[in-house]
């Protein structure tokens, strides 16, 4: 399995490189990040524009910039992915893309991890329950909720949840939930406990929104998977041998039915990080999603590339983890 993992990781390098080249060219031709500066009113001095061009290495060709961005050779020490430097930003010398990505990744991770854990937990519970009570009222109700969450646009679902949070606050007369940001604006006087509860109050609504979008998908998979297993011969055999229903469900049915869920969850991690863009936008979190939106808006080539590389790496790793988990969970699969 180690050899397989190494092979997969090595194979991922050209994939990421090809993706980076394609993205770099697409971003580069999408627009001039200095266009507004060139047409500013009143006009910007020529040397200021030239300084901005030098800062962004736009005094060099696209090919040179790509090689520079990849290797950092002939740069000013602020660029070169292989050296761990993401390059200069349109937002000026003080904006460190690498630092921003690191900080924001942690913000997004906080949102995504909690939402995913909750989504998976809830999906397993409801999916199994729906399968065990197929065509019951509860099954229909959970199916309806699942499809509702699937059908609703994420931004709309998030907006409704936000309105619901405000309504709850107004009913109880306290700030239980907050609708913007990962924390209150002024936390200087907060104790550690107050900071914790403040963070939790800001976390709840966006987590709920992200969780429901993930839950809807997972619960349908879990229900289908469980139904297939319950209808299989070995389950009938287990029951025919007189095993108690709880043991059949827990030891034989659920373990098998969780296999697609585990692999799907690994892939969903990558998808959720990307999917957090809308949630972060609606709830004004300064995570990776917000970073991406800002970078695209500003034609900030190196910032967009940094985000894409991170996103691409996560997808590659998530795919690998999903494949490896297959082998762990299903003894019939072995990677030689």
């Amino acid at each position: 399995m180690v050899a397989y993992t190494a092979r997969r990781l090595i194979a991922a390098v050209p994939v990421l490189l090809a993706a980076s080249l394609l993205c770099f060219v697409l971003i580069d031709i999408a627009g001039d990040p200095l266009a507004d500066l060139r047409l500013a009113d009143p006009p910007v001095p020529e040397e200021t524009i030239e300084a901005a061009e030098r800062h962004l290495y736009r005094d060099r060709s696209v090919v040179e910039r790509y090689v520079l961005w990849t290797t950092g050779i002939n740069g000013r020490g602020d660029i070169g992915l292989l050296q761990g430097r993401f390059g200069p930003s349109v937002r000026g010398p003080a904006f460190d893309i690498g630092e921003q990505i690191r900080d924001r990744f942690l913000v997004t991770l906080r949102l995504v991890v909690i939402a995913l854990v909750m989504a998976i937990g809830l999906a397993v519970l409801t999916g199994v329950f729906s399968a065990m009570r197929q065509y019951s009222t509860v099954d229909y109700l959970l199916t309806f909720i699942g499809f509702l969450c699937l059908a609703m646009p994420t931004f709309w679902l998030a907006a409704l949840i936000k309105e619901g949070g405000v309504w709850v606050n107004q009913q109880v007369g306290h700030h239980i939930f907050y609708t913007i940001g990962a924390a209150s604006a002024d936390t200087r006087a907060f104790t550690a406990w107050e900071s914790f509860t403040d963070a939790a109050a800001h976390l709840f609504l966006p987590t709920m929104a992200l969780m429901l979008t993930g839950y809807a998908q997972l619960s349908r998979y879990q229900r289908t998977s469980m139904l297939e297993v319950l209808d299989s011969d070995y389950i009938r055999l287990a029951r025919a041998k007189g095993l108690r229903n709880g043991i059949v469900m827990r030891r034989h049915a659920l373990r098998t039915a969780l296999i697609p869920m585990v692999t799907l969850s690994a892939l969903l991690v990558a998808g959720t990080i990307d999917g957090a863009i809308l949630i972060e936008r609606v709830f004004q979190w300064r995570g990776l999603g917000d970073f991406f939106v800002q970078a695209v808006s500003a034609n900030d080539t190196y910032a967009v590339m940094g985000w894409l590389m991170l996103s691409g790496a996560i997808v590659v790793v998530a795919n690998l983890v999903a494949d490896l988990l297959y082998a762990v969970l299903d003894p019939r699969i072995r990677y030689e």
Partner: protein, 606 residues
């Protein structure tokens, strides 16, 4: 139930897990906001018994004083900025935005600003000992006089040295004052031969180069200047920079650009913040002015999703904002709230249609006139923004809004914008065009089709559709193409008819020069008229505002007659604020908008 306990309970419900409840701090939702002072706090202003004009009901009649009222001591307020400031120094290209100026207003001392009505310029007599004085017209020399007790927050006096450093940072490298400074504009600063101090640094003497004049000299170092005020000189030495060394001045420029100012020469001082989330201001303990800020904290919070404002306002996470773009849906929802004051009015920017004269068809002035005559600007204004702003009026001068004392209607007499299609067709017929079925032709050749281009906003999309329909009535086919890169589109001349906006200001003298001078980089459509060039140059270099206005109006009249640009309307803007605050009002004469007087904001005294 406490916030935490409710969170946990709801979490249990959702996640299906069980855990214990815990206690945590709760805050009133219906109160005056986060950390706001008690409504029973005593009024501290002598004017507490004066009649207050709560709300914006009288803003049309009294734009400079509406929503005025006595303030209570203390309280907190959170104001929305809908875009991030790019840096901490508004002179730099990345920091050069209204958002930086708004975020830092009250930190950098300035010499004055326009009042909301647009007809009164208020000198900052907290900083200035007297109104500035024009000493000489040749060479053009003027002086600012500083108060002796004007100091930075560390107690260092504000002197001419600060003005000199600010000026040098704003000049281009060719002037030799600074190497590495990256001013976003150096036009004004480069015109100065010297900025010097006298009277122990309490008088600032500015002398322009020979042959240069500036009718708007009162605006030097004002809140409307590219820095929005002046930067401190003495901090450079503390940071190890010699401001007399051009290279080290450039390094000081970058230091200011990258470093959150913890100094202040204004009524507020920044105590915490970043360029991504929020900036927290508190009253400057060394404020030397007459009226101090009463709010304990003023938070400028960055929320770039408009849809988030209303829930946040209802939740009292924010208390007000004055965004630059009009959004009818948001305005309607705000107007439905009874706990919020909302004001909609004409803003500083104005929308217009502009021909690209590189298109051979538009070399014919009669075709241009006919098209502009057929377009109904009043109809466009009503259909695009009339729902939220029924009082919207077509704009009738390129340089001056209708509230300006210099305004002259140069558009209506031409018949342009009237929507008179019959008159337009008659003009075309006289000029040799003929309507062949549904197609306009000249000498048998089809006129057009033309490309109508703008950025994709609700207002502009609707406008483009209306213009397209009007052109169809003249027999001219047109396609609508939106762009995400307005700068590239205009700069590359990639359009036939473009709709976009210009920012207006009571400082107008350079407007004609910028819009229509044949050598201006902002004259995107390639208009060239020596007479207009001459008038525009005269306006920019006039000795007085009256002279400048006369030249600008003459140029505008010529441009209107030649149907190069058709003003449509002043883009409406809106301001909203929770009703527990006073002295908050819009200032469409300033890019600072509502923030222009943020030191006067406060909780209403009971």
């Amino acid at each position: 139930m406490s916030r935490t306990a409710t969170l946990v309970a709801l979490g249990m419900l959702v996640a299906g897990c069980a855990t214990g409840g815990v206690e945590g701090p709760g805050e009133d939702v219906d109160g005056p906001g986060e950390g706001a002072a008690s409504a029973e706090a005593p009024a501290t202003e002598a004017a507490a018994d004066e009649a207050a004009s709560a709300g914006f009901g009288d803003c049309d009649e009294a734009p400079n004083t509406c929503n005025e009222g006595p303030r209570a001591d203390g309280g907190s307020m959170t104001w929305v900025l809908n875009t991030r400031p790019g840096s901490w120094l508004a002179i730099s290209p990345e920091g050069g935005s209204v958002y930086t100026l708004q975020a830092l207003h009250g930190i950098y001392p300035h010499t004055g600003q326009w009042e909301p009505g647009g007809d009164e310029y208020r000198f900052n007599l907290d900083l200035l000992a007297a109104e500035p004085h024009l000493v000489s017209e040749d060479p053009f020399t003027f002086e600012f006089y500083l108060r002796e007790d004007a100091v930075w927050s560390d107690g260092t006096p504000i002197t001419a040295d600060d003005f000199i450093v600010t000026w040098k940072m704003s000049t281009s490298e060719a002037e030799g004052h600074c190497v590495g400074c990256r001013p976003r504009s150096s036009v004004a600063a480069d015109a100065a031969a010297s900025v010097e101090g006298s009277a122990d640094g309490r008088t600032v003497v500015i002398t322009l180069k020979e042959g240069e004049a500036d009718p708007e000299w009162i605006g030097w170092f004002s809140a409307h200047s590219i820095q929005g005020g002046i930067v401190p000189a003495h901090l450079a030495a503390e940071q190890g920079f010699d401001v007399d060394d051009p290279e080290q001045l450039g390094q000081y420029f970058e230091w200011l650009n990258e470093t959150m100012p913890t100094f202040s020469g204004g009524p507020y001082i920044l105590v915490e913040g970043d360029l991504e989330n929020q900036i927290i201001k508190e009253p400057n303990p060394n404020w030397y002015g007459d009226d101090a800020a009463t709010l304990d904290t003023l938070i400028m919070r960055i929320i770039d999703d408009e849809g988030s404002w209303l829930p946040a306002l209802a939740n009292r996470e924010i208390h007000g904002g004055s965004p630059p773009q009009f959004n009818e849906d948001i305005v309607r929802q705000l107007q439905e709230r009874t706990d919020v004051y909302t004001r909609v009015g004409p803003g500083p920017a104005w929308e217009h249609l502009s021909f690209n004269l590189d298109n051979p068809w538009f070399q014919d002035v009669e075709l241009r006139r006919a098209i502009f005559t057929a377009i109904d600007t009043d109809d466009i204004a009503q259909r695009t923004v009339g729902g939220g702003f029924p009082d919207v009026q077509p704009r009738t001068n390129h340089i001056f809004s209708s509230t300006s004392p210099h305004h002259i209607d140069v558009v209506t007499p031409t018949g342009q914008g009237s929507g008179d299609v019959d008159a337009a067709l008659a003009m075309l017929e006289s000029a040799g065009y003929e309507l062949d079925g549904d197609t306009l032709r000249r000498d048998g050749e089809q006129v057009g089709p033309f490309r109508l281009r703008s950025t994709s906003t609700t207002v502009r999309n609707t406008t483009m559709e209306l213009v397209q329909a009007t052109l169809a009535r003249l027999g001219i086919a047109a396609t609508i193409e939106t762009t995400d890169d307005l700068g590239g589109m205009l700069g590359g001349g990639d359009y036939d008819i473009a709709q976009f906006g210009w920012s207006g200001s009571p400082f107008f003298a350079n407007g004609a020069n910028q819009f229509w001078h044949s050598e201006s980089g902002s004259n995107f459509g390639g208009y060239a008229n020596p007479e207009v060039d001459e008038l525009a140059t005269r306006a920019a270099n006039a000795a007085s505002l009256e002279d400048a206005a006369e030249y600008a109006n003459q140029a505008a009249a010529i441009v209107a007659d030649e149907a190069y640009v058709l003003p449509i309307m002043d883009s409406p803007v809106y301001l909203f604020v929770a009703d527990e605050y006073v002295n908050v009002r819009d200032n469409p004469s300033s890019s600072l908008r509502g923030v222009y007087n943020n030191e006067e904001w406060g909780l209403a005294a009971q």
